[in-house]
Amino acid sequence: MNAATLEQQVEELIRGPQYALRQAEKDARLTAILRELCRDVAARCPPYGRFLDHFGPAAEDWRTLADIPPLPVAMFKRFLLAAVPPERIVRELHSSATTGQQPSRIVVDKTTAFRQARALVSILKEHVGSSRRPLLVLDAADSTAAGDSLSARGAAIRGVANFASETVFGMTRLPGGELQADWDAIEAFFARHGGDAVLAFGFTYIVWTGFVLEAERRGRRFQAPQAVLLHSGGWKKLTAAAVTKEEFGRRVGAVLGAAAEQVLDFYGMVEQVGTVLVDCPAGHKHAPAFADVVIRRSLTLAPAAQGEPGIIEVLSALPTSYPGQALLTEDQGVLMGVDDCPCGRKGSYFRFLRRIEEAEVRGCGDTFAQARDIR
């Protein structure tokens, strides 16, 4: 497959219907694309080339997506994995990092950036309709501050904003860095567009603490029956607070004046911007046409059976500037079925279970050498 053909095939998948391919056909098409794409990226990104040389079968022997050796996402914290020269990098994305940890750094060239933007629009079209609509971002404007470096949140907001006819930020940042709902802005947004099909977007925990709990405390309710709220991000803090997905949807819907089914969780990560896996009405996550998910067993890494929890791997044909084609995440999920979701979407579908945390009991040998206090 030459470069032009490869480009054309990826474009077809991005432009076409996102959930129409049956799994077998999708696997075959994506495997062929990723075989070429991974080889190409490996040739331009020596660390990734060394990774592929060490693990798994040679690219020409990849028969299914599960044959592709997944790169652990943590490697973006260890290395700057660039498959393009610095002058072709248009943006560097970075994850948030807890104290003492390196953030992930993802370099994006023009091709990847275009693909990511158009891919996200293609996906959202299938969930919320094709027309651009007013967007309420439940975050602060400075999260998307202009520049050649962008946080994961900022990248996601910018991506969703591609779908907006108008963007309003519903939060402000206090001097200490905390976010606070800007009720004037939110009220004004709903006053203008309350009856319209509007889109709201925010990170799960911020939506919950900064918007829902605050609105409930203040007794604020809106009348936006056609609103769709998209949210993304970890559930850890909400789980700790015993907030289920169902309760989250119900209470967000109550504040917006919309049905709980219009609150859509999506799974995505900074290492694969544009590749988002949105909840369908049946509560399942579906990969779009240009991407897929493999749930892998611990230890053997073999694909898990339906219903068996495993480690989530996300594959995507979008990135050209970094090795993000097959990434092993730090999350657990479960394959729920293939080609038969009650929502009618084809392909495999899954549920996110949890972030993979350190086992509670690792014993007295669980010391961290240089990083902690051995030295």
């Binding site: 020596p46 990734y48 943590a74 290395f79 669980d366 010391t367």
Partner: protein, 424 residues
């Protein structure tokens, strides 16, 4: 019911308080004090044989070593070392010059176990009972992990008129959620001695619990262990290197490398005969021959895959790994450092010019050094320097996880005794 009590019949709910159990134990103190040491040794010896014969305990990981450790001859040596050469001090006063000396139990010993080694509770419980303490043992997990079976076989053991069933009245094995602060405090406040095995968080949490003023703390906290193969052995030929690698592979395999005595980084001296890659291949061959791991949690799987990828992608490093899964991994480099422990058959081989480069890495956090030296004098020279720097043990490959006394620089049984003196 917040407390589970683990006994020969398995785990059973035991109420919301520890006080009834503590009271039961304290009632056994006078009886246990009168049991002769010879009877205790004989009982453990009988138990040792049963462990290997009984189908309930035979398959448990580490039971073969536990059985050997419980043999009378071994425990007799342990007692000698821990009682200033005369276990008779445990049975009463012994005349020394113009005074009398005796070793009394501390009283009630509370033991917080780590969850990494199935047989670990026995290595704590046996010294506790040999020192005639009543023991309250808290397991790390609700799943007894074989402890119930170990207790079942002990209950059936007997020798010299002492029945295991009776001895078990002086010991209680329990589990409760570590977040149950009142229970943790109750256990701690009942203790005359606290023995803590575990990682950093567990040690910090337990030692922060309130305790009685006289209570003795014995902490076996998080440690890191390493190996070292010296140049002369690498160049010696004659199977010495193969034997050393085989020993290290055993040390790596036992307890899935979760014990603090398991080697994580092994330093290889640069030599004229065997490259780092060749040594790596020998480890790979040895690890490949091990029986498959029964399973692995997702977190450790990710850590293994992360280490593999990191070593593969770095041009100054190399890695060899099992195909098709996270079974074993050999990471190789020349950066003189202690690598973060990944565990579960993941070993880091680091080439050094000389063992002297390793010395600055050694602190009291390093527990065991597996030493593969061709020359005994060289081994002793290294051990002299390593133990001065803080290492607790320098032992041959294959022996790293063999629990012995002293351990972590401590004579456990001795610390579970109160030495008393009488000058009539």
């Amino acid at each position: 019911m917040n407390v589970l009590r683990i006994g020969p019949q398995g785990a059973a709910p035991a109420g919301d308080r520890l006080s009834p159990i503590i009271e039961e134990l304290n009632q056994q103190r006078a009886w246990l004090a009168k049991v002769p040491v010879a009877a205790l040794l004989a009982l453990w010896d009988d138990y040792s044989g049963r462990l290997l014969r009984d189908p309930r305990t035979k398959p448990l990981e580490g039971v073969m070593f536990l059985s050997a450790w419980l043999r009378q001859a071994n425990l007799q040596k342990l007692l000698q070392l821990n009682t200033m050469g005369n276990p008779g001090y445990l049975d009463g006063f012994v005349g020394v010059d113009n005074y009398l000396l005796s070793a009394r139990p501390q009283g009630l010993v509370a033991m917080w176990m780590a969850g990494n080694v199935a047989t670990l509770p026995m290595f704590s419980l046996v010294p506790g009972l040999l020192a005639k303490n009543v023991c309250l043992v808290k397991l790390a997990a609700a799943d007894p992990g074989g402890m119930d079976r170990l207790l079942a076989v002990l209950a059936e053991s007997q020798a010299k008129g002492l029945r295991g069933e009776d001895l078990l009245r002086a010991a209680a094995v329990v589990w409760f959620d570590y977040r149950q602060q009142p229970l943790s405090e109750e256990m701690s406040l009942a203790a005359d001695a606290r023995v803590v095995w575990g990682g950093r968080e567990a040690v910090r949490a337990v030692t922060a619990l309130p305790r009685r003023e006289h209570c003795v703390d014995i902490v076996f906290g998080p440690k890191y262990s390493i190996g070292l193969i010296d140049r002369k052995l690498l160049e010696a030929g004659g199977g010495a290197l193969e034997a050393a690698v085989a020993g290290f592979v055993r040390d790596i395999a036992v307890f899935d490398q979760r014990a603090c005595s398991a080697p994580q980084t092994i330093f290889i001296e640069r030599n004229a005969r065997c490259s780092l890659a060749e040594v790596g291949r020998m480890f790979a061959v040895g690890l490949e021959k091990l029986p498959p791991k029964p399973g692995l949690d997702a977190y450790t799987t990710l850590r293994i895959l992360g280490a593999r990828a990191e070593w593969a992608m770095d041009p100054l490093r190399d890695v060899a790994a099992s195909t098709g899964g996270a079974d074993w991994t050999v990471c190789m480099d020349r950066e003189v450092s202690l690598k973060e422990a990944v565990q579960s058959r993941t070993v880091f081989l680091t080439e050094v010019e000389s063992w002297r480069e390793v010395l600055p890495l050694l602190t009291p956090k390093v527990q065991t050094v597996g030493i593969a030296f061709a020359d005994r004098d060289d081994a002793l020279a290294f051990a002299e320097a390593a133990t001065a720097a803080g290492a607790a043990r320098c032992v041959r490959p294959g022996l790293m996880n063999n629990y012995e006394s002293p351990w972590d620089g401590k004579l456990l049984l001795n610390q579970l005794l109160r030495w008393v003196i009488v000058k009539p």
